[in-house]
Subunit: 222 residues, 4 copies
DNA sequence: AATGAATGAGCTTTCATTCAT
DNA sequence: GATGAATGAAAGCTCATTCAT
């Protein structure tokens, strides 16, 4: 983060000191970009491995090996395994929040928003790093970080719940126990991460559409 | 599984082999019963701890301490931690199978059976050891044991799926993608284990009823 | 410590329950003795190595190697390196306290007691594990343990100071700044640990006598 | 030591080689001065930190951070941590030697010189970098450097011893075991570093005077 | 059947040092 | 002269498992 700032600041100085060759600046910017790129590479590699095997089954050595570097090099980018893991959660949260924001801003009755959330979630869980939030365990984290993560989770839940409540208010959704309904929907969605295979028979969109129907229309004939 | 049967089976054989002095037999029976009781105590204690903290966060020492015995003593009853864990899965499977059997034998349309399954599952997850099957990770197990566990899971899924198909056949359930519908329902149910607190505001029955409605009737007004 | 008590307690029970074969008790006692002996061996080996090289230069592996066992075996006797180190301090404290108690109980003017303390200290530092208290660093210990150790040190200082004050009171010692006098004496004594070699030219008694004189009579001719 | 001399020496050579344009020389001198200044800054910062926390508890990173530079930059001034540490000892030695020289050159009986040494030492230990020699451990150094440091220490000891011998010769000091007397005095002095706090109740001069009395006049009434 | 003791393999983390730039 | 990045070597500690008793 501090590095993000250093870049612009340096750029300012550059404008007022035009003697320095542009190439030098390029170097600094490039270096910073490279650093961020590497940091991101570590993060994504770790997230992939954590998702595939569970975070406690992935040793720092494993991540380093996968990246072709040595273990201590990881500590240039993340101060600890916990830090790395919690950063995965943060990234995941950000991605999810963006989707929820987008849907919230859209017009339409609550029911449609709920269905949009379901479709978005299906995608998040299957192709994006949104699944980190759902599938990785936060129990190994120290209290303070675990609470942070749980805060994210609660916030997401609250927003889905609010969408359902909005739907009830605007008449598009039947009155029901909102909390339980939210749990049921989130559970169904989260579970996708357990069985989905990208080389399986179902496309992401197909799953999203089907779930959107199934979880809102029900199965019963009448 | 094999061990559950061995106990009773052994007792049967004893009854049908009355030549040895009764007292001796009684001793043998008693000894065997004691062994089975202790074995079961280990199993249930381990299952509880595994569920509460996740199996990889429970050391063999922890289990032994909880039972007031020493670590190596555990190995008299289970040959390894994996063995103990897989046995938890087997017990869980048995409990689940019993419920599915009971419901399958009952009369009524497929929809009602499905609802009965949902109610039974809600109970299994919250109060019985059925939750082991759903909430414990099988990823730490060696391939052969993990495959065994996954077989159980697939079988359970298949039976729920068959129930839905039966409901479609008898007209009580709308035609739909059965596989996805099953996944959605099972996901919603399994998720209960993530948020349920026995001291929380929802009773098991309340959850079962609400889920049975929600997952079959849907949320949409029409 | 708790183990010291278990022995006697067990012996009591034995007397009132004479049915059990003595051999069993012997075994238990023997085993306990062996355990204590081993624990002590670890402690003394560690203390020696800590004194010789400084505690931070001694790895757990080094201690284990010296004892001919493996690293984790050490953890059967001490829960951590800190635990091992602080136990060294506790042993050292006990030895010192015993000497101070003995001298305190003796008759004689304060000056004689002070000289006795100097002689005793010279011995403690050179041949007994009393030197641990003086020569090992407590700065690597976590706060709580470091405070414990500093408490010991303060208590020892206080007792020497009290002895000097007693001497001033009974007229055998000249009035002076007691705190500084104590520091000077303790410093001179503690320093012995820095230069003393058991194969050197000075015997322990020689050092003790000379220091007792030097630190109380001074060097000046008048 | 070698580096301290190299600076001035280099400057001397410059003055005696006037052929090159003065401006260039000035630059070179300035550059050299700057380098020496930076080198000294590193040295003093390191010495402070080593004294405060013990050299093995101070990482190169810590020193760099304290100076606001990066770790590898340190290696421009010192070839290794050992080099840095031994240079601290050399500086310390120089300061101590200067004091001993000054006192040796003064007139007066041996006893007065000894008292002057005690007063000077009290100051060295509490306010100057003289304490490095006494309070820092040389055990982490490789043999060759450790021997160098021990040479310094022995030389200092020898000079104190010589002062006492001079006092015995001139009749101002009572005959005694000079070696042990020296050890006792040095020990008492060195220990000051363990308890002295600059914000404590004792001023440096007070300590020096009191120690000068206590260590030469003794405590005993007769 | 149960115990105390021990082990091997593994984990996260630290740190002095080097190197390309 | 200084930097960011990387490394090899080591440290303390944990844990499932085994073994003699």
């Amino acid at each position: 983060m501090s590095n993000d700032k250093r870049g612009p600041l340096a750029a300012d100085r550059l404008e007022s000191a035009p003697r320095r060759p542009a190439s030098l600046w390029k170097n600094a910017v490039t270096r910073d970009q490279e650093r961020q790129a590497k940091r991101m590479a570590v993060l994504l590699t770790a997230a992939d491995m954590f998702l595939a095997r569970g975070s406690h089954r992935v040793a720092m050595t494993d991540i380093a090996d996968e990246l072709g570097i040595t273990k201590p090099a990881l500590y240039n980018y993340f101060s600890s395994k916990d830090d790395l893991l919690v950063e995965c959660f943060r990234q995941s949260n950000q991605v999810i929040i963006e989707q929820l924001d987008r849907i919230e801003r859209s017009a339409g009755p609550g029911l449609e928003k709920l269905r949009a959330i379901i479709r978005a979630y299906a995608r998040l869980i299957t192709v994006d790093y949104g699944s980190v939030m759902i599938r990785l365990e936060d129990r190994d984290l120290p209290d303070i970080l675990r609470n942070e993560v749980r805060g994210y989770k609660r916030a997401i839940d609250a927003r889905v719940r609010a969408t359902i409540e909005g739907g009830i208010a605007d008449g598009s959704i039947l009155p029901c126990d909102v909390k339980l309904a939210t749990f049921a929907i989130m559970g169904a969605l989260n579970w996708i991460g357990q069985w989905f295979r990208s080389d399986g028979p179902y496309s992401v969109d197909r799953i999203g559409d089907e779930y959107a129907d199934r979880l809102t229309k029900g199965l019963a004939k009448n």
